[in-house]
């Protein structure tokens, strides 16, 4: 594929990647009166996409994958970092430069229902980008054996040497010979060229007998056919189409300006599996036909595995792992990738495998955890030395308690809550004994364990609930609960963090290289002093049995 592309435009720097992203950050809600706490949707990512390659981008909702995709095509502006497209930093482009560049990078949206204007016909929808960009611009390349300076007048403009020209005029021999690019539905007879040659310069005047509107209509018809629709669909409206057909329209629109790079933002998520298969096949055909480079955003991992050459796994604005698809799926190195893959339901009822179910939901990107972004949910988080051997239940209880305190601390207080706090009426923690009981006991409450709670006071209940906890951890936990009950919740949270935190929550990991093919993973576990992810998961699963 990339070979084909290089033949097409020999002037681009063949060997470098098409898209290169360095330290990219996209924040929302920056500035403002109190705006010191933005949503960190994309929080520092680096990667590159080679020409003709399909890079998959997966992650849970809220991981920032869509924002990243939109930033790459400049639908969002980056807060920091650069996006190099063919060596140009597109985050700095503006005005007509930006508009010109937009031809090269297009996007297909997830929901064909809402991304197509219901009041426009299919033909108008696909034609719109052509009208906006005044396609075709009749760029003229003059092939002059004597290499004189060239000026173009009339309908045409001089072609950018980096792009393929609509009309090529060759000056060799008797009279100029004219060639028209295939994408334009006209033949060379419709172009009239007059050339006046001087010794040091050539001026070419071009007049085209076919109207641009005619050419655009023909181009749209071609596109309809390319994406598997029929010519007569030109005059129909989006509501007359099925979901799969609408997605084809969205794809045709994105291809109208002959881009090099297309961001596919969950293009098949809304479709049935049999329709999905057709669209995926179409996307692959188009890629090999036009030499396209894709960024494929999806949450369906089996689709990604099928279509992508490489995959990047995102969590909370960070790329956790990136590498060759098959390698990453067969042997995930990052604990998040491992958990994500483990969650995919396999279409085989006889498959019997150990599953890791992640606890809770991702934290808010407004307030990401310190250290590793995944540290609050990681099933194989590195434990501090003193607690390395406590049982799973104890560790799980500690993590749950931390999560509860963290959430309570971060919750948004309404006017009522503020008023209550001011009056010292209620802190929301008066029921904390119940919570502690639920967290620490194995069965969810003392009652369920057959303990008579009648007549037990709070401290006796806590004492009793802590019986299920490993003795090493009892003392700090008891102290934490007492602090909470004494209304010193932030001190309690601090104590819990101090006691049970490890590198995972304290320092950001590095992107460790984990294979020969250039795969990297963002996790402390790759440091030599710790067990590997796979080993850690094996331990976890065997202890759960």
């Amino acid at each position: 594929m990339s070979e084909l592309l290089q033949e097409d435009d020999p002037a681009t720097n063949e060997n470098g990647p098409l898209v290169e992203v360095n330290g990219l950050k996209t924040y929302y809600d920056t500035g403002g009166l109190f705006g010191s706490n933005p949503v960190k949707a994309v929080d520092g990512v680096d990667f590159a996409i080679d020409r003709g390659e399909t890079l998959g981008l997966v992650g849970e909702s809220g991981s920032g994958k869509t924002t990243l995709g939109r930033t790459l095509v400049q639908l969002e502006s980056a807060t920091e970092g650069e996006v190099l497209f063919d060596g140009t930093d597109v985050t700095t482009l503006s005005g007509s430069d930006l508009k010109n560049w937009r031809r090269e990078a297009q996007i297909v949206f997830q929901d064909p229902e809402s991304s197509l204007n219901h009041r426009m016909t299919i033909g108008e929808i696909i034609r719109e980008p052509l009208d906006v960009h005044d396609w075709p611009n009749f760029s003229v390349a003059v092939d002059d054996p004597e290499d004189r300076s060239v000026s173009v007048s009339g309908d045409g403009i001089r072609a950018d040497p980096n792009e393929s020209a609509d009309i090529t005029v060759e000056l060799a021999g008797a009279g100029p010979s004219i060639a028209v690019r295939d994408a334009l539905a006209m033949n060379a007879d419709s172009v009239d060229v007059s050339v006046s040659e001087q010794s040091s310069s050539v001026s070419v005047s071009v007049s085209v007998a076919v109207s641009k509107a005619q050419l655009r209509r023909a181009h749209v018809r071609d596109l309809l056919e390319t994406v598997g629709l029929r010519e007569e669909h030109y005059y129909r409206y989006p509501h007359q189409f099925s979901g799969g057909q609408r997605q084809r329209v969205g794809i045709a629109r994105s291809l109208a300006l002959e881009p090099e790079f297309v961001v596919l933002d969950e293009p098949v998520s809304a479709l049935d599996v049999s329709v999905q298969a057709k669209i995926l096949n179409l996307l692959e055909d188009l890629q090999s036909e036009f030499g396209l480079t894709y960024l494929f955003i999806a949450h369906d991992l089996s689709v990604v595995r099928h279509i992508c050459d490489r995959v990047a796994v995102m969590y909370l604005g960070h790329i956790m792992e990136i590498g060759e698809t098959e390698e990453l799926f067969q042997n995930p190195e990052n604990p998040y990738t491992y958990s994500l893959l483990s969650a995919i339901p396999e279409p085989d009822p006889t498959a019997d495998r150990e599953r890791v179910t992640l606890r809770g939901t991702p934290p808010s990107p407004r307030d990401p955890p310190s250290g590793c972004p995944f540290s609050t949910r990681c099933p194989v988080k590195i434990r501090p030395e003193a607690f390395r051997d406590v049982d799973e239940h104890t560790w799980e209880s500690v993590e749950t308690l931390r999560e509860i305190l963290r959430e309570r601390e971060n919750r948004e207080m309404g006017v009522r809550d503020h008023a209550k706090a001011l009056l010292g009426l209620e802190t929301g923690f008066e029921d904390f004994v119940d919570v502690a009981e639920e967290v620490f006991t194995r069965n969810g409450s003392l009652e369920a364990e057959g303990v008579a709670t009648e007549g037990l006071d709070d401290s006796a209940r806590i004492e009793r609930a802590l019986d299920d906890i490993d003795p090493v951890a009892r003392e700090p936990l008891k102290e934490t609960i007492e602090l909470v009950l004494a209304d010193k919740e932030s001190r309690a949270h601090e104590l819990l963090v101090e006691t049970f935190e490890s590198d995972c929550g304290e320092q950001s990991p590095e992107h460790h290289s984990v294979s020969d093919s250039g795969r990297t993973s963002y996790c402390h576990r790759h440091r030599s002093e710790f067990d590997d992810t796979a080993v850690a998961f094996d331990d976890l699963l065997s202890s759960a049995e």
Partner: protein, 451 residues
């Protein structure tokens, strides 16, 4: 996969859908969205329903719940719900529409009734279960495989004028009886929904009211269905939120739906459904809008709840992976019809209907060595005419001439005796030569009732 199916199939099903037919009447055409489908759900069992959009999965669920909106209407068939508690409650409320089987048994002899029916040349095919197609009904009665209950359930006593056609509640001291939900009035439906059958939908936000706290909405269900009030209801609401694994339920109970994440909202909706103490839970694509990690949590939760409460679950989805994970029995729907029905292992291990085969083939990853995904050509047709042909034939790679003129019926294709695997395709039964198989379908197809 929690329950071994063989154990449960011996007892009578909790829900039995027979020849259910729901149509939508528009000026232009009549759309047969659900076209004579039959299946059973047992206690503690998960029955999955799969199919592409437009295949009638959701309409089936809504028909069972009595939620079909105009211009749609149930035009035929029955949905028999055999929960003792529900039967008793309704029988008490609507004595005029209740049939007491004990009374009828005392007055009539089933064999005599059958002879009466035969003399009227009534169609008795509905009595003949699988494997009894060519037997004499009178003999079956003597043997005990056809009972008075079957006669009532089949509507034969209505034909003879013994029972009232409007009566839909059947009380039976022996096995509890059943309610034919399709006959219930709106008021009666309200008694069945929730406590009998509860439903959760794809988008939890549509089931939650944004201006009330989550606890408030759960408490409403508790008050209506369990009769608890005040602090008792509050504690029960917290307990339910804990039961669906919402951490810190004490605080969460006072929060509004917008403060919950997507997965947590779906948990809250499940808690609301559980507050009604249902016997059957209908899940209409409950995980489709969720991330895989959250989906895994919800599926795990549903399986836990099912085991705890011996709940029957009807699970609608288009995701074959989810079905493989959660279902015991699978029903495959295509264009309003049930085209294949089997235990989950057989559907994935040995799919019989070409549609099921195509559906499984198009999942990415089934053929890792192939570059292109396999597809099914064409789209699901709108079922707007009475089927006199196979609706899948235009897209079917194995179609032959007869497919355009003979409507296939569900025939037994089990490889294993206990499998109960059926498929509606003219290629089966496989042991018959093609022309005989077609003849088999033609004959059985003609015998079917029609509206």
């Amino acid at each position: 996969m929690a329950t071994p199916v063989s154990q449960t199939t011996t007892e009578s099903p909790l829900l039995s859908v027979k020849n259910l037919q729901t149509s939508f009447f528009t000026d232009k055409e009549t759309i047969r969205a659900v076209d004579r489908i039959s299946f059973d759900i047992h206690r503690g069992e998960t029955v999955g329903i799969v199919g592409e959009s437009g295949s009638g999965k959701s309409v089936t669920a809504r028909s069972i719940m009595g939620l079909v909106d105009s211009p749609g209407r149930i035009v035929g068939g029955s949905v028999q719900f055999s929960d003792v508690d529900t039967v008793e409650r309704l029988a008490e409320e609507y004595p005029g529409q209740t049939i007491d089987l004990a009374d009828i048994r005392a007055e009539h002899d089933p064999a005599a009734l059958i002879e009466q029916l035969q003399s009227r040349e009534a169609d008795l095919s509905r009595l003949n279960g699988p494997g009894m197609a060519d037997r004499d009904p009178v003999e079956l009665v003597r043997e005990g495989s056809v009972t008075m209950g079957d006669l009532v359930a089949g509507g034969y006593t209505d034909q003879l004028g013994i029972t009232d056609e409007d009566a839909y509640i059947v009380r039976d001291a022996d096995d509890g009886g059943f309610v034919d939900i399709t006959g219930a009035s709106e008021a009666a439906y309200r008694k069945i929904r929730g406590r009998g059958i509860a439903m959760i939908f794809q988008d939890p936000l549509t089931s939650l009211n944004p201006v009330y706290t989550v606890g408030n909405q759960i408490k409403e269900a508790i008050r209506l269905h369990q009769g608890l009030q005040g602090d008792e209801a509050h504690q029960e609401a917290i307990r339910l939120l804990e039961a669906v694994s919402i951490p810190d339920a004490h605080r969460r109970v006072d929060e509004y739906p917008h403060e919950f994440s997507g997965g947590m909202r779906q948990r809250a909706v499940i808690a609301m459904a559980l507050a009604c103490k249902p016997q059957l839970l209908i899940c209409d694509e409950p995980t489709t809008a969720l991330d895989v990690t959250i989906q895994a949590q919800i599926l795990e939760l549903l399986m836990e709840i099912q085991e705890e409460r011996d709940l029957a679950i009807m699970f609608i989805t288009h995701d074959m992976g989810v079905i493989a994970e959660i279902a015991d029995q699978v029903n495959v729907m295509y264009s309003g019809e049930l085209v294949e029905k089997a235990p989950v292992e057989s559907v994935f291990g040995a799919p019989k209907h070409p549609y099921t085969q195509g559906l499984l083939e198009s999942i990415p990853g089934r053929h890792p060595d192939e570059d292109r995904l396999r597809t099914i050509e064409g789209d699901v047709p709108t079922p707007n005419v009475k089927p006199t042909y196979c609706r899948f034939a235009p897209r079917c790679p194995k179609a032959f001439d007869a497919c355009d003129v003979v409507h296939p019926v569900n025939v037994d294709v089990s490889e294993d005796v206990d499998d109960n695997h059926t498929a509606a395709c003219l290629l089966y039964p496989e042991d018959l030569p093609e022309s005989d198989a077609v003849e088999h379908h033609r004959k059985r197809g003609d015998g079917g009732d029609d509206q």
